[in-house]
Amino acid sequence: MTIPDFLLAAAVFVLATVALGLVRILRGPEDADRMMATQLFGTGGIAALLLLGVATEARAVLDVALTLALLAAFASVAFVRSASSSEGDDPKETNSP
């Protein structure tokens, strides 16, 4: 087994693992759980992307992974923001007594 083959196999494995996390998206029960699973999708997706990119020597894939990593927090931030604002109270968490 050559290294590219091994990396591809690892990508398949990571993808399958991520797919397992899909169950948490399906089941919830809280939205936070679903968002977490999505975050996991992000990390796993980046890993799979890197494995694929190095295996197939496609350097541009690293830039795709870079973009994903940079924006990984973005959707989650939108989630947290909306979760706190939907409670209706002050989303500010102050340090003062």
């Binding site: 870079l66 968490e93 340090n95 003062s96 007594p97």
Partner: protein, 164 residues
């Protein structure tokens, strides 16, 4: 104060330009664009995170990074151990850690660093400004580890050990 800003700007600019070179390579035409990108990033950085007074201590920073690496491995192993154990050994609960760092970026950095510590996760602050940690196992000596981390971080950021 002026001196501090200039120094911080130079250091950050150099850092961003270095990052640009890493991304794109060393073609001179790309370098010109890189200067612009570094300038834009430095401007934004100085506005968003004005430089503080202290000088970074790189030796301590390196020690902190090393410790961070170790901790993240231990943290991962710890979770994996619990996850794959048949009995699922968990004693979850909250721990109040009275943090010495003032609220602000440094304190947040501390929170981020310690979120990889085995079994701990910062989950907000209580009414007295202390950090609330959620622990997988409340019986672990978490507070002592946190104190070591905090001491290192304070020294790395140029503070003294005793500014409680």
């Amino acid at each position: 104060m002026k001196n501090v800003s200039v120094r911080a700007a130079m250091a950050r600019g150099a850092g961003f330009f270095g990052f640009w070179l890493v991304l794109i390579g060393t073609d001179p035409v790309d370098g010109v664009a890189g200067l612009f990108a570094a300038a834009a990033a430095t401007g934004a950085s100085l506005r968003l995170l004005p430089p503080g007074g202290g000088r970074l201590r790189y030796a301590v920073l390196a020690r902190l990074a090393l410790r961070f690496g170790q901790e993240s491995i231990m943290g991962g192993v710890d979770v994996a151990r619990r996850v794959l154990s048949v009995r699922l050994p968990l004693r979850p609960g909250f721990l109040v850690y009275p943090v010495r760092l003032p609220p602000g970026p440094a304190c947040n950095t501390f929170g981020a660093l310690t979120s990889v510590l085995p079994g701990t996760l910062p989950a907000g602050v209580d009414d007295h400004g202390a950090l609330l940690y959620h622990c997988l196992d409340v019986e672990q000596p978490v507070a002592a580890q946190l104190a070591i981390d905090e001491g290192l971080l304070i020294r790395a950021l140029g503070g003294t050990h005793d500014d409680t």
